[in-house]
């Protein structure tokens, strides 16, 4: 057996079913070994998208996503994918081919120090110099990526290591006993009891959930918890979909792009329980003021996030799934707070809807209404992938999520995420309906993947919200440099009808509100991959 075959065996042992990637000489031994292994290789059209596709796969399958690319430019192209996954704590194992061990450091063809380049946005990285280390390295990599605060792990494997022969292959069975890495799983019971006490005292309790609930697979426990104690819930962008958006306890998204009523609830509550959310700058406009005089409970698996942006009253480090189970087991008698809930309902009914704010001229589609309509017509468990920009914010504020998932690049805000991530999501669960919603800017960053959608016959539905501008930046420039737009006009754009046709994808157009529902239905009902071009008024602001 050679190193490449050993890697495939490692992946098999980890239950890997699919690897997204791109070929190249330095990773070829690996692809060659993968060929008849039963693990599927999916050839994306640029390496960055291998990272995004693995991310979409990981988020829907709740497994570690795997991608593999070649050395040098392959590896550097992947960096954005790794950084995007890191910012959203998505578990990936990224394999890069490397030049031969003896040539490392001599600037040979297609050599780049990817370990050094990726250092600040990987959870951990390995350079494998001895073929015998492969089983241990892969075992540790999967464990590190998928435990504690999840994240991408990079394994750089020189070509000669992939080709070297390995005599004894044994894959470790139990979790690796790492001398220095021991993530906290159970929350401290004393701290959890303190939360129970605060819940009994609070007049205006509020729970804010983040992406950590998804990552810990704690959706059911979370729902049981807020229903049992009738706790109103707001969410961050990454926590969207933890509760159905129309859930009776659900108030909306917080943050500077969020719902006004959700932010108001954050200001007025007297007990705020943050779960699996890092209180990031986009989520809380002014963290210090927000928590003035409040009891703040911060539950996070990463101790470094607690106190980084706000100083909590009760910090709890641990996996939120276990902590919620502990809280559900306790006999907590919440003080009745129906008047608070009633007030929150009133705020919710008064919320300024985007449709009012973003009403465009006739002859265009009203984007917020479109998003609401589209999401209501999706299957109950559909995966909705939003890109970055105006389309992302419109999606977050208006789409209805029931039992499905909402995926987006929240932390890094990487344009072009939606199509490859949708591709990965579809591969994770082929039976599920998957829709990617992007702007015309992001679409042109990732439209090469239409080729893959066609090649693999993936029935992914792509919505391109077209306004011929990089809309969110245009909006920023409007406020910052009034009347002075630069580098945001996409001009006379390529005809999406012809683009779709060139890639063998069905094209649909929505350019007015009239008959919109029928058009969306036709688009969703189409058999294979399809593209819906939605024309919106370019000068409409969303804020």
């Amino acid at each position: 057996m050679n190193g490449a075959e050993a890697i495939v065996k490692c992946l098999k042992s980890e239950g890997v079913e699919i690897v997204f990637g791109y070929s190249g000489v330095a990773i070829d031994p690996f692809w060659n070994a993968l060929k008849d292994s039963g693990i599927k290789g999916v050839l994306v059209r640029t390496e960055q998208n291998a990272g995004h596709a693995a991310s979409g796969y990981a988020r829907v399958s709740e497994k570690v996503g795997v991608c593999a690319v070649t050395s040098g430019p392959g590896a550097t192209n992947l960096l954005t994918g790794i950084a995007t996954a890191y910012a959203d704590s998505i578990p990936l194992v990224c394999i890069t081919g490397q030049v031969e061990t003896s040539q490392i450091g001599s600037d040979v063809f297609q050599e780049a120090d990817v370990i050094g380049a990726a250092e600040s946005f990987v959870k951990y990285s390995f350079l494998v110099k001895d073929v015998r280390d492969l089983p241990r390295v892969f075992h540790e990599a999967f464990y590190i990526a998928g435990s504690g605060r999840k994240g991408p792990v990079l394994i750089d494997v020189p070509q000669d290591v992939q080709e070297a022969s390995i005599r004894d292959f044994t894959y470790p069975e139990s979790d690796p006993a790492l001398r220095t890495y021991k993530p906290t799983v159970r929350g401290h019971i004393v701290q959890i009891r303190k939360v129970a006490k605060e819940l009994e005292k609070a007049k205006r309790p509020l729970v804010c959930c983040g992406g950590g609930i998804h990552l810990s697979g704690a959706g059911e426990e979370f729902r049981a918890f807020v229903e049992k104690f009738r706790l109103p819930v707001v969410w961050t962008m990454m926590g969207l979909g933890v509760l159905p958006t129309e859930h009776e306890m659900g108030l909306g998204m917080v943050g500077n792009n969020g719902h006004s009523n959700a932010n108001r609830a954050m200001r007025e509550c007297d007990l705020l329980i943050m779960m699996g959310a890092r209180v990031a700058d986009r989520a809380v406009a002014d963290p210090d003021l927000t928590f003035d005089g409040k009891v703040l409970v911060h539950i996070d698996v990463d101790p470094a996030e607690i106190g980084k942006n706000v100083g909590p009253t009760i910090p709890i480090v641990g996996d939120v799934k276990h902590i919620l189970a502990d809280l559900l087991d306790m006999d907590i008698k919440c003080r009745p707070h129906e008047d608070w809930i009633a007030a929150l309902y009133e705020y919710r009914s008064e919320r300024r809807t985007l449709s009012q704010a973003a009403k465009g001229k006739s002859g265009f589609v009203d984007a917020p209404k479109f998003v609401a309509l589209l999401s209501s017509m999706l299957k109950e468990d559909a995966v909705y992938v939003a890109d970055v920009g105006q389309n992302q914010i419109i999606s977050c504020l208006n789409c209805e999520i029931r039992k499905g998932r909402f995926l987006t690049s929240g932390g890094m805000g990487t344009m072009g995420y939606s199509i490859p991530a949708a591709l990965g999501a579809k591969k994770a669960d082929p039976e599920r309906q998957v829709v990617a919603v992007c702007g015309d800017g992001a679409f042109q960053m990732s439209m090469m993947e239409l080729a893959l959608i066609h090649q693999e016959k993936l029935p992914i539905k792509i919505v391109v919200v077209k306004n011929s501008y990089l809309g969110l930046v245009r909006e920023h420039q409007k406020k910052t440099y009034p009347g002075d737009y630069t580098m945001v006009a996409l001009g006379d754009e390529p005809d999406l009808k012809h683009i779709a046709a060139a890639y063998g994808i069905d094209w649909f157009l929505a350019s007015e509100m009239k008959g919109l529902k029928e058009r969306i239905k036709k688009f969703l009902d189409s058999e294979d991959g399809a593209l819906l071009e939605v024309r919106i008024d370019p000068m409409v602001d969303i804020k």
Binding site: E119, K123, L127, I144, R179, T180, P303, A304, G307
Partner: protein
């Protein structure tokens, strides 16, 4: 702004020092000195870092260091119960007739003379940082000219047996 000394026990993997120094640069933390050396158990390296910042920053530094996969333990070495030592080599230009004065001055600071030419001396001092600073200050203010200085940054250990990590 406070200065704080952290002691780290880390896995002796390749690149561990760059992971740690990289953390300081990418998060914009100050690093005043860093020293590293293998421990009695060759699997581990002990690192002493002198850093500064306000309380929030120092708390984040400690947490972010602890989060690194290779880091086994992070603890603060408090001045009141720790021993810090730094090695400093100082090359001074001295006229031959004034050599004795410099040697006497070095003696006061328990420094030794490790090299001597017709017009220069190399003084080696192993002390805590403030004593070294004082000594350099005295030399600078004197009539002698300091030609070169090489300082190692401090290594430190906590006094007594409390908090000792026993290797498994």
């Amino acid at each position: 702004m406070h200065t704080r000394v952290f002691q780290l026990l880390v896995d002796n993997t390749s690149g561990v020092l760059s992971r740690i120094s990289g953390l300081f640069s990418r998060r914009g933390y100050n690093i005043e000195s860093i020293t590293a050396g293998v421990t009695a158990d060759p699997r581990f390296t002990r690192i002493t870092i002198v850093t500064s910042g306000d309380d929030d920053i120092l708390e984040q530094i400690e947490k972010q260091l602890a989060k690194l996969i290779d880091v086994r333990s992070v603890k603060e070495l408090k001045p009141e119960n720790s021993v810090y030592r730094e090695l400093c080599l100082i090359k001074v230009e001295v006229e031959p007739e004034k050599m004795q004065n410099v040697i006497a001055l070095a003696g006061i600071y328990h420094a030794t003379i490790e090299d001597l030419t017709e017009n220069s001396l190399m003084i080696v001092i192993t002390e805590n940082q403030s004593k070294i600073d004082t000594f350099i200050n005295v030399l600078t203010k004197s009539e002698y000219k300091i030609l070169e200085i090489a300082r190692t940054g401090i290594a430190g250990l906590q006094r007594g047996t409390d908090g000792v990590i026993w290797f498994d």
